[in-house]
């Protein structure tokens, strides 16, 4: 598929904008206290990701990427957030997210992580194609920000949101560095993600049954002797 030079220029800038948005949503998640909003942010992140993937598909003419864009839209922007939303209702999780360290400190740590990610990814970015230059750094930064979120949050659901955001970051890394993994691997990864999600659902209900709560502070009984 050939695109005119005009579209290519606009497309590349648009892609940069989307990448920046992805990172911003990562920060917004770090700062967010309410679980419900957190899930909405996750859905937005999935949507931006799908849009970005579709744009890369358009610019590079890789047909396989269209499939992954569709898959991302269905799975990460719609299905998973919707299920999480329902889960939240059915489990009647209430209250705000309890962070281990306060939010301004978390955000500062996040900035440090982004700088680290960019310097680590610099040699790789130099080798990527013109369209996606510099995006590996953003992807790695998004992954690290989700790590940070998983570490600093107490509630099981917010850890899962962090987990899924990390998945989004990895997917973005695959798209921007290598224009997507081979189809069979991508399908395998998607399958694993789906099964993992189902297992998590089962797991939540088990937790609910046993602890009557979704707060992970109940889960601190195993102590090193």
């Amino acid at each position: 598929m050939l695109v005119s030079a005009h579209i290519a220029v606009w497309g590349t800038s648009l892609l940069k904008l989307l990448a920046a948005l992805l990172l911003l949503i990562g920060f917004a998640m770090l700062a967010q206290r309410r679980l419900l909003t957190l899930i909405h942010l996750l859905a937005w992140q999935g949507f931006v990701l799908a849009l970005g993937t579709a744009l890369v598909a358009l610019l590079t003419g890789q047909t396989e990427l269209w499939y992954s864009a569709a898959l991302t839209l269905g799975l990460k922007a719609l299905l998973i957030p919707a299920v999480l939303h329902r889960l939240l209702r059915r489990l009647k999780v209430r209250g705000d997210v309890e962070a281990v360290i306060n939010i301004p400190t978390t955000l500062l740590l996040g900035i440090v992580l982004v700088i680290f990610a960019f310097s680590l990814a610099a040699p790789i970015s130099a080798l990527t194609g013109a369209i996606t230059r510099g995006m590996v750094g953003i992807a790695l930064a998004a992954v690290l920000l989700s790590f940070l979120m998983m570490i600093t949050r107490r509630k099981a659901i917010s850890q899962v949101v962090g987990f899924l955001a990390m998945d989004n970051g990895l997917f973005f890394a695959a798209t921007s560095a290598t224009l997507g993994m081979p189809m069979i691997v991508e399908l395998g990864v998607a399958l694993d993600a789906l099964i993992g999600f189902v297992i998590l659902g089962i797991f939540f209900f088990q937790m609910r049954e046993t602890f009557d709560s979704m707060d992970l502070s109940h889960l601190e009984r195993i102590r090193e002797e």
Binding site: L120, P123, I124, L127, T128, L140, V143, F147, M150, A156, Q159, F163, M166, D167, L170, A173, A174, A177, T178, L179, M181, P182, M183, I184, V185, G188, V189, L191, D192, I195, G196, I199, L200, I202, F203, Q206, M207, E209, T210, F211, L216, H218, L219, E220, R221, I222, E224, E225
Partner: protein
């Protein structure tokens, strides 16, 4: 060529079968039968590899060579004996915890899925599918760890899920970078992740990218190997799940994860030079050995004790591959094999002992020999073997690792000896307490048939320590040569 697919098919067919009938008496027997067939298929595969050497199948999507063959064999043996053990053991656990039919079915299906993903990880040629299989193995075992639905089990499973999930995410990022480096040489498409192709062009892969990729892969799969400082999930997961699950976690999962690291190491060595990966492996290995040895001193729970012992042994094997050279790599492979067989035997006997005593606390377990000589001897021999007493294969491998370390990396020898000594001091006195003394229980002994797998595997470990069959020696030498 068909034998690879046959092996995988044997393991795969078990999943739906157990999904339908995986409870009660028939469930246990189907589980045994499926894994018996899988073992036969792996033996046939080994026969073919012995005759023709390694080969690929299905358009290079699957591969078997000397290194993976050794691990596939161990996989077959441990899978089969675990199924044998699980039949009697789980019947008693099910009665104790009042597990429903559905729960037993879940157990069998997840267990079989895990065994299938292990074989898939070893036999696939694609580094991408290898990752998918490792992730599948994690997912399959999460619900096994929390099978009894105790608070402790749920916590352990959650920790396992999150830590290993994060680890595997790192490994995926590493795999993406690997693909990125391969793309510039092999072009896009699934052939660029095929290990055999990558091996052919490993000198041309971009060194900078490969170095970063290896760090991510090592930290990622290293989490699953149980390398410190990311080993925290391992003792919890081993302690909370059924002992049959602990046996395969230690016996199969850790090995396969290390296998994934080593496959990547071969590629990275070609691109970056051998020192880079070697130093990282030595550092992580030594750290794990020491951390685990000192943690063992503080353990009061018998399953946690041996879980830390797994960290210690995997650390030692990782260190050996870091030292490199034909002798140390040979010892590393031998260590992986012997550790798998021995540690699963240890968990079989420990599982039985915990059932007898009704507690996992070491202080509550005593007088096993008087209570049941079969169980007492099984436990004593298994634990002596894991301590590296001759004629266990672990004695031979540890001896080789120490001597080659003295030769190549003399500075590390005292640390190595310190770790091994502390580990010995942590386990040996407790063994005496558990096995000797007066038995407080007078009623009912454990069914002796379930101790058969222990003796079977210990016999194999003894064989590895005294007389390794020629063909295995050849495979190990070839594998050692290609790893270093």
């Amino acid at each position: 060529m068909m034998l690879i697919l046959l092996t995988l098919a044997c393991a795969f067919v078990g999943i739906p079968l157990l999904g339908l009938w995986g409870y009660g008496r028939p469930g246990g027997w189907i589980f045994v039968a499926v894994n018996g067939l899988t073992l036969l298929a792996t033996l046939a595969l080994a026969g073919q590899v012995a005759m023709t050497g390694g080969f690929t199948a299905a358009h290079e999507q699957f591969v078997v060579d000397d290194f993976s063959m050794l691990l596939v064999l161990v996989d077959g043996v441990v899978g089969f004996s675990t199924a044998l053990f699980s039949r009697g053991y789980m019947a008693r656990e099910a009665a104790h915890w009042q597990l429903s039919r559905g729960r037993m079915r879940l157990y069998h299906v997840m267990f079989q899925t895990f065994l299938f993903t292990m074989l898939l990880a070893l036999l696939t040629n694609s580094m991408g599918i290898l990752w998918v299989a490792m992730e599948g193995a994690t997912l399959a075992t999460v619900l096994l760890v929390s099978l009894f639905r105790t608070a402790e089990g749920l916590e352990a499973a959650w920790k396992y899920f999150i830590l290993c999930g994060v680890g595997l995410a790192m490994a995926l990022f590493g795999t993406i970078l690997l693909y990125f480096a391969a793309q510039r040489v092999l072009g896009s498409g699934s052939q660029a992740l095929l290990w055999t192709r990558l091996d052919g062009v490993r000198g041309q892969l971009q060194p900078h990218v490969m170095a970063i990729a290896f760090v991510f892969v090592l930290v990622g799969y290293g989490t699953k190997v149980g390398l410190a400082p990311l080993h925290n999930w391992l003792p919890d997961a081993h302690a909370s799940g059924p002992s049959s699950v602990s046996a395969v976690l230690s016996g199969l999962l850790l090995n396969v994860a290390l296998y994934a690291v080593l496959r990547t190491k071969v590629l990275v060595d070609g691109a970056v030079g051998p020192d880079f990966a070697a130093h990282l492996l030595m550092g992580f290995g030594l750290l794990s050995l020491l951390v685990a040895a000192f943690s063992m001193l503080r353990q009061r729970d018998v399953k946690r004790l041996f879980a830390y012992s797994s960290v210690e042994h995997m650390g030692l094997a990782t260190f050996a591959f870091g030292v490199g050279g034909p002798v140390a790599s040979f010892a590393g492979i031998l260590h992986m094999l012997s550790h798998s067989l021995t540690k699963s035997a240890v968990f079989f006997s420990v599982g039985q002992a915990v059932q007898t005593a009704g507690s996992r606390e070491i202080q509550r377990i005593h007088g096993l020999l008087e209570h049941s000589p079969v169980l007492g001897w099984a436990m004593m021999l298994a634990i002596l073997a894991i301590l590296g007493m001759p004629p266990s294969g672990l004695f031979l491998s540890e001896f080789l690792i120490i001597t080659s370390t003295m030769h190549a990396q003399a500075w590390a020898t005292p640390l190595l000896l310190l770790g091994l000594g502390v580990a010995f001091a942590a386990i040996f006195p407790r063994l005496q307490g558990m096995v000797f003394g007066r038995s407080p229980w007078t009623h009912g002994g454990p069914a002796p048939v379930t101790m058969l797998p222990v003796f079977m595997q210990l016999a194999l470990v003894g064989l590895l320590g005294v007389f390794i069959p020629v063909i295995l020696v050849q495979w190990m030498q070839h594998a050692a040569a290609f790893l270093s």
